[in-house]
Symmetry: C2
Subunit: 279 residues, 2 copies
């Protein structure tokens, strides 16, 4: 049976894939960002409970969040939908209304009928004139920051109702010297690992500084997926305090190992325990 | 139960959708073309018989054909794949190798595991400097031309192995004054109907001039889907004869009704009898 990790490594070795979006140069117009995500009934949400509107919304919002994670501006969304043949006209429309409500203009798509219900969204955006923020830019001494409370996204329903942090990312990029950025889809520990891997650095995270959602505990905040808050590093800058609601410094980038420090000052290795989709 | 036609009309009324690709202006770089298509096991092909490579190939080739239908140049392909959990590493890789073999550089994608097997491709391209060829440009007196033999695409296997007519479309656009163009995915009669609807004109098609694939008859050539040959109109130009292999004039655009003329000169109304996907 297939290993997702092995398959993704094999794909990554064949194509320049690895950041939140594809980065496509279209000079002098700018840099095009493109992200594609699937939302499948029974895998990424439950149509019968969460409804058709959530399907469309989550698909577009996931890809918008990828564009936000590079501090880009989402411009156009495309939605490929497959609907079970027994669906009503009203339910089918709800999928599209949900997609529209994510806030990116719909520019095209495809509708099919088949044995399963899914929505695949592709969002195209434009990088900020300062350039896209990559996963690979974290530097020793950078602060590590998240944009909101983490964990329990499934229990709280946020996994299908989160707001992509588009404006937050743009304001941060314009006001501070960001190092690396990613959106938290696989869990804080795993997504921080992606940044550290890409940047070739370590970290020292303060467990007590991690903002924990009311529907979660510390383990959930570290390892649950689909928060879709942003995780970024930045050059230390005291203007961060009070800059925007929800921002929380959780640690610092260091040259050494990946550590998490508990309340008593004890260090433990920070390992990737986040959610690997499809396992 | 949902009607596909009614749903697509409702969607089309909400967004500027209706041509083969979305047309997105990125000045001064150019005009971006974007097309998205689903290929689902059991709906658009049969994985067990046609194999994983055909799944990836067909998804990308369908969207490339949409870019070709506007005389654009495919630049980047994105593939969102869902694989059944029992798939082997080898089968999973075959999907991607099939997608690559369609000939458009792969720039990103998404991999999920779920209850069904599908590939959704998004292809981004650039319009020709002369502009994209739309469905709405057919004018009275234009010749109606197809690029190859039609019908029986399922029986012959061409539905999953056709070659997108990218170079043909570019050469035609550079050498002639094209009116309207579309790729034949729903069947000649239906896709010609799309051009005539968009252009507000009629046609006079000679049944005997329609090139029929060896695996088909005239009804198949008129109504089968997924040939993915191009159907276009152009200002009369005698240089067309012998310009490229496979090109065949099948009729003329007229102001009046939509007619098809049989071998004895008898006229009948040309009605859309093509394949409506998902019915």
């Amino acid at each position: 049976m297939v290993s997702e990790r092995e398959l993704l490594q094999w794909i990554a070795a064949r194509a320049p894939i690895g950041d939140d979006c594809a980065v496509l140069e279209c000079p002098p117009w700018g840099t095009l960002l493109a992200a594609t995500d699937s939302v499948i009934d029974g895998v990424h949400l439950r149509w019968a409970e969460e409804g058709p509107r959530a399907l469309g919304y989550k698909a577009v919002a996931r890809s918008m969040s990828d564009v936000a994670a590079m501090a880009g501006e989402p411009l156009w969304a495309f939605l490929a939908v497959c609907l079970p043949s027994g669906v009503t006209q009203e339910q089918a429309r709800e999928v599209y209304l949900g997609a529209e409500s994510a806030g990116c203009p719909m520019a095209g798509g495809d509708t099919a009928f088949g044995p399963v219900c899914y929505a695949v969204a592709t969002v195209l955006g434009r990088a900020h004139p300062k350039g896209p923020v990559l996963r690979s830019g974290a530097r020793e001494g950078d602060w590590i920051v998240v944009t909101g409370a983490l964990g329990g996204s499934l229990r709280s329903g946020r996994h299908a109702a989160f707001e992509p942090r588009v404006d937050t990312a743009r304001k941060l990029h314009e006001s501070f010297e960001l190092g690396a950025m990613i959106d938290i889809s696989d869990g804080l520990s795993t997504d921080l690992g992606h940044i550290l891997d890409a940047s070739g650095v370590g970290c020292r995270v303060q467990a007590e500084a991690i903002p924990i959602h009311p529907d979660s505990d510390l383990q959930g905040a570290l390892n649950d997926g689909e928060d879709h808050e942003l995780l970024f590093t930045m050059r230390p800058d005291d203007r961060l305090e009070g800059f925007l609601p929800g921002l929380q410094r959780i640690g610092v980038v260091q040259a050494g190992p990946r550590e998490i420090i508990d309340g008593s000052g004890k260090s433990a290795p920070l390992v990737c325990g986040g959610f690997e989709h499809g396992r």
